[in-house]
């Protein structure tokens, strides 16, 4: 049986993650694992003491104090996490998902997600986490780390979700984009869903071999696809295109370039996720 890993935290994205998971789980006939990670803030950093004086029994005292801080915070975080997981489970169950597995872990958020995705076929996360929720027009720092480290398809939920009825594929000559096409053609997620191929480039792109190859893969399916080609930067062309399609999901290959290049020039992928107001499915 297929499995979906739905990652939630205290942000408002938890609901859209659930709704998107419901959509995907029903189409893939998958079971769902809902994950919440308890990440306590560092007790060492939480103490405000720069006195640097160490006196009698300092090691024992310090250990006890740090344990106390962590303990209090962990208990609260665990309780909060339990409520979140409970809400998510109830939401999924109401929508008719039968197999739900709750997972509550301690640790680093990114590392835990990567650890758990090994058993999953699809990872669903929110566009921003609780820490950067208020900053709109950005992408959560953890999301980029998750997508860069992940080897599974990652579905990123936007704040508001409509049931996806259109798959917009951002197509270029890269192998990652070809993967995205393969995925859409093969996955039960997109059976019977309208596909739009969007290319940022000259009109002559339709004659290039990668386009022909991609089109031929999708041509046989129903309903057949719409092609949109405009010259310009990918983030602008694709961004403009999906802006008016609130019921779309954007599918694309992710992070074709090395982290070093990204550091210098910025990442197209990050820019597209930031621009899109719809869910984004990333494939590596």
């Amino acid at each position: 049986m297929k499995r979906i890993l739905a990652c939630i935290d205290a942000s408002s994205y938890a609901h859209s993650v659930c709704d998107l998971t419901i959509w995907a789980a029903k189409r893939m006939k998958a079971e769902v694992e809902v994950l919440h990670v308890v990440k306590r803030t560092d007790a060492v950093a939480a103490r405000k003491d720069l006195s640097g004086a160490i006196g009698l029994g300092v090691k024992t005292e310090l250990l006890e104090e740090l344990t106390r801080i962590d303990e209090a915070e962990s208990k609260q975080a665990i309780e909060q996490g339990r409520v979140l997981l409970g809400d998510a489970q109830a939401r999924l169950a109401r929508a008719g998902i039968s197999k739900i597995n709750r997972l509550h872990r301690h640790g680093d958020i990114v590392e835990t997600i990567i650890e758990r995705e090994a058993d999953a076929d699809l990872v669903v996360v929110g566009k921003r986490g609780a820490t950067s929720e208020s900053a709109s027009d950005t992408i959560g720092t953890k999301i980029e780390q998750v997508v860069r480290s992940s080897i599974k398809p990652v579905l990123i939920a936007s704040r508001k979700i409509q049931k996806p009825e259109i798959a917009v594929i951002a197509l270029d000559g890269s192998s990652a984009a070809a993967k995205a096409v393969d995925f859409v053609a093969a996955s039960p997620l997109f059976v019977g869903i309208e596909v739009h191929l969007v290319v940022a480039g000259p009109k002559s792109s339709v004659e290039s071999s990668w386009f022909v190859k991609a089109y031929s893969k999708l041509a046989g399916r129903l309903p057949s696809c719409i092609i949109h080609i405009v010259d310009g930067s990918p983030e602008k062309v694709v961004g403009d295109y999906v802006r008016n399609l609130s019921n779309a999901v954007l599918v694309m290959g992710a992070y074709g370039h090395s982290p070093l290049r990204t550091l210098v020039f910025g990442s197209t992928t990050t820019a597209m996720i930031r621009e899109a107001r719809v869910p984004v499915l990333l494939l590596r």
């Binding site: 720069l50 006195s51 004086a53």
Partner: protein, 491 residues
């Protein structure tokens, strides 16, 4: 890709806390580096360069983020005879060799030997170290005027009382500054850092130690390098353990061994003495909010900045203020809980702890103290297991068969009791040795089993050994001289 996540966590997860803690620690490194350079008999710059270089390198390659390593008391007290007899160049050579030995220890996984070091030995080590640090301050307190005592007392008062006022500034720093200002403007006659030797005015540079590359040299430095390497690793691994506990995060002990080695190896070429992790300063680091590699790195770099840029000021610092800081480090390192626990812990544990302390204070060599502690705890353990041994015997109704039933551990320490259990003078036809609940551990045990069987045979009784468990039966098969193999298997 995961490594970027780990790198970020190990360096950048706690920027503010780490930078502030690093600065606090840098200030606490100065007294130990200067003080113990003087004790080792070299210029303060040897210790200061070493502290900079070791801190920065272990920050990069060590296995325990947030731990502070630098030139330490533990190593300094070991090298006094080397410097006295052969000069400082031999110290650099010994430091390089120490590094090589530690790297080798990392590859050979010698960190696993720490499993044999019991809690009592660790406590003894820590207490002995605190005593060494304290005792090293005494020369500064002998044959001096009352002004020195007043300054030390004043320094300690500031260190411990100032945090009640504010915890936003390091109180040892406040103590050093206040005492320095008083001594300069008051024109007080006390020793200053400048009186103790030259402070560096330039950055450290690379050079090959000026020693003959002969077997003779190796013979001189090897014993020192070996002890330095062992003591360095012991203190580093123990400190790593303390930091693990405090921060509730794991560390890579093997990488720490290699990291210490690399740090010492390179430090030797830059004119520094050997070093290792520091318990007191690592606790100060965690207490001040430092927990990643960044804080160690900042500590090292800031130290270099202090000594190179503020050198003229540093040389005017009165020694009594540094003595006060070192007394604080000594107090913070000492495990005061262990004093209260001497009476409540099992007496064997207390003996091991005290023996470790006594041997270290006697020899000024932490390695010998730990060795004594480990041997003692091994002996005590053997003694305890030896007591887990009982024997019952039963005579059959016809008086012809005697069954000895053993349970517990038969090994070198309990063979005597094993042998004493038999009554060879009793006249019986048949002897059954029932070992169902016993375990024969070593060839001493097998030898005494052999001995008993032969002796019974000479008294005319047939002997049968039953119920040997598998490992014991294998031992008997391989090492016993009596022809009991088949019967051992039959049972």
């Amino acid at each position: 890709m995961l490594s970027t996540t780990a790198l970020r966590r190990e360096w950048l997860s706690n920027l503010r806390g780490d930078i502030l803690a690093g600065i606090v620690v840098a200030l606490a490194l100065i007294p130990e580096a200067i003080g113990f350079s003087i004790i080792a008999g070299v210029d303060p710059k040897v210790g200061l360069y070493a502290s900079f270089s070791i801190a920065v390198i272990t920050a990069l390659v060590g296995g325990r983020p947030g731990m502070i390593s630098a030139a330490t008391a533990a190593i300094a007290v070991l090298v006094v005879p080397l410097i006295r007899d052969h000069g400082v160049e031999y110290l650099f050579a010994a430091t390089i060799l120490m590094g090589i030995l530690q790297i080798a220890a990392g590859f050979l996984r010698l960190d696993l030997l720490m499993q044999y070091v019991s809690t009592s030995v660790v406590t003894g080590f820590v207490n002995a170290l605190a005593i060494l640090i304290f005792v090293a301050q005494l020369p500064q307190l002998i044959d001096v005027t009352w002004i020195t005592y007043a300054m030390v007392a004043g320094g300690l008062a500031i260190i411990y009382l100032f945090p009640r006022l504010t915890k936003a500034v390091p109180s040892p720093l406040v103590a050093i500054i206040v005492l320095t200002v008083i001594s300069i403007y008051g024109g007080l006659k006390v020793n200053t850092v400048g009186d103790m030797g030259h402070l560096p005015t330039a950055l450290p540079y690379f050079f090959i130690p000026d020693v003959p590359f002969t077997f003779e040299t190796l013979k001189i430095i090897f014993p020192f390098s070996l002890t330095m390497a062992i003591v360095g690793l012991l203190e580093s691994l123990m400190t790593a353990h303390i930091v693990d506990d405090l921060t509730d995060t794991p560390s890579n002990k093997r990488r720490e061994c290699k990291g210490q080695g690399i740090a010492n190896f390179i430090t030797g070429f830059f004119g520094g003495m050997g070093g290792c992790a520091m318990i007191g300063q690592s606790v100060i680091n965690v207490k001040s909010g430092g927990s990643t590699r960044l804080s160690t790195f900042v500590a090292g770099s800031f130290l270099l900045f202090l000594i190179v840029v503020l050198g003229p000021l540093v040389s005017q610092i009165p020694m009594p203020s540094l003595v006060a800081v070192m007394i604080m480090v000594s107090i913070g390192t000492f495990s005061w809980k262990s004093i209260a626990e001497i009476r409540t812990n099992p007496w064997q544990s207390s003996v091991v702890m005290i023996a470790t302390v006594v041997v270290v204070v006697w020899t000024h060599d932490l390695a010998q103290g730990v060795l004594a502690g480990v041997i003692l705890s091994g002996l005590f353990f053997a003694g305890k297991v030896r007591d887990m041994f009982t024997v019952t015997s039963r005579l059959s109704r016809d008086g012809a068969t005697r069954t000895y039933r053993f349970s517990g551990q038969v090994f070198f320490a309990s063979t005597e009791r094993f042998a004493e259990a038999f009554d060879f003078r009793e006249v019986v036809d048949h002897v059954i040795i029932d070992a169902s609940d016993a375990h024969f551990w070593d060839i001493s045990a097998i030898a005494s089993l052999d001995h008993a069987i032969h002796k019974f045979r000479r008294e005319g009784a047939s002997v049968e050994v039953v119920g040997l468990n598998k490992p014991s039966a294998t031992m008997v098969d391989r090492f016993a001289s009596h022809d009991k193999a088949e019967e051992g298997q039959n049972s």
